[in-house]
């Protein structure tokens, strides 16, 4: 939510003649996407407009005709569905997410979570929430810890719950922590065998005259492998992240 507000504030003064490419961005990708969008503006001189939120909500809106040109989802299922329905095309893996355990005020250890609430994203709709639930299940702690879980609408809100110190620990995206410059001692990568790979796909939605601009951004984005890697994502073709 906070990221969304910042995005809107950031986007407000940049009204220009040419309609910028409009991109729906899953909350976990938003900080990196903002950086890539800045680089794109500097290098290609073209502007993009970002909207951050939960992939589930974006999927609903896009299905009902929301005017986005690109959709970078936090999952594979929704872009595939949009492509299958003909709403979009070229649904491809752009990255695999990495889950992290964030404990700001103690040592982050999966088998020794601090007392109090544990923030996770809603497992029903947010892939990182499902991965967090799988992690607790496979580490044999789900039954014990379930009463302490609080459910955020998306990974951005899960981050906020921990950041505001209302939840002493939480499962967030590694990319959020690196983007925020969180000290490495506060978080730990979750062992990738504890959850199903977080394959993230994007899909091209733009039609007609908007298409060329959207494709230009796609090409630029696909070349930003270092940025994605530094941000804590796995790249397609790497271990635990199958290429299409």
């Amino acid at each position: 939510m906070r990221h969304l507000l910042l995005t809107l504030l950031g986007a407000a003064p940049c009204i220009q003649a040419a309609e910028p490419v409009r991109i729906a961005v899953a909350a976990n990708l938003l900080p990196v996407m903002e950086q890539i969008a800045r680089d794109y503006r500097q290098q290609a001189g073209a502007k993009v407009q970002l909207a951050g939120g939960s992939s589930g909500a974006f999927y609903e809106q896009i299905r009902r005709g929301a005017p986005f040109d690109l959709f970078y989802s936090a999952d594979a299922e929704r872009p595939d569905k949009l492509a299958a329905a003909g709403t979009g095309e070229a649904s491809r893996t752009y990255a695999c997410g990495r889950l992290a355990l964030w404990v700001p005020k103690a040592e982050p250890k999966l088998d020794a979570l601090p007392a109090g609430k544990i923030a996770i994203a809603q497992p029903d709709t947010a892939p990182y929430g499902r991965a967090a639930l799988q992690t607790l299940e496979r580490s044999g702690q789900l039954d014990e810890l379930k009463p302490r879980l609080v459910y955020a609408q998306d990974i951005g809100q899960a981050y906020q719950f921990v950041h505001s110190s209302n939840a002493p620990s939480g499962f967030v995206a590694l990319s959020q922590l690196t983007a925020a410059g969180t000290p490495a001692a506060q978080y730990a990568r979750v062992d990738a065998t504890l959850y199903e790979p977080l394959v993230q796909k994007r899909v091209l939605l733009a039609k007609g005259e908007r298409r060329a601009a959207a494709e230009a951004f796609l090409t630029f984005f696909d070349a930003q492998k270092d940025t994605l890697k530094a941000a804590g994502y796995g790249l397609p073709g790497e271990a635990g992240c199958a290429a299409d």
């Binding site: 939510m1 609903e60 609430k117 709709t125 505001s164 110190s165 939840a167």
Partner: protein, 229 residues
Amino acid sequence: MLLTDSDWQALAITLQLAGLSTALLLAIGLPLAAWRVRKQTALRRVLDAVLALPLVLPPTVLGFYLLVLFAPDTPLGQAWHWFTGQGLAFSFAGLVLGSVLYSLPFVVQPLTVALREIPQSLLEAAASLGANRWERLLRVVLPLLRRGILVAGTLGFAHTLGEFGVVLMLGGSIPGETQVVSIALFQHVEALRYGEAHRLAACLLGLSFLLLLLVYGLGDTRRAAPMRG
């Protein structure tokens, strides 16, 4: 009915939240309304503006501020933790506090209007017959206010039923504790469970309609209740 167990649970939580909030709202709203009617001061105008803020602010903003305010390292969070041993965010108590703030204008406004309509002459007559302050309140003011209280209470209740943004920001969607109907409904839609979403929405729609019907049956057209929300 065709609701799932968790939907019933959400409905129960919602009704408890609305009921408890309404009781608190009336307890706070009555003295506030009385104070607004009597004193014509600069302070009163400031209070009026503060009271109206929840009408104007997006509920998510209110929820965001409350979440920051509820954190365990703030004075409020510390006091609450000392008192109950628990955090205020993600708790039913936190939602009650949020709802009271959020619905306050919807209760204070009708009460203020109802209080203004009580003729001063009646109170003077009661006083001249020897009724003291408390007797005037119990025997004259409260009976005359009965309808105003019902309208204010119903509006506060109905407005809390429809609350979404505040709960979304500080609830944490815990089944049986903070997952209210509006949140459960949102999650059904996001998870593509349209059947459940429809049934729950129908419940909420029916309930809200009945409540509003009650409000308009109680208040006559002259003192039409505020409709924003």
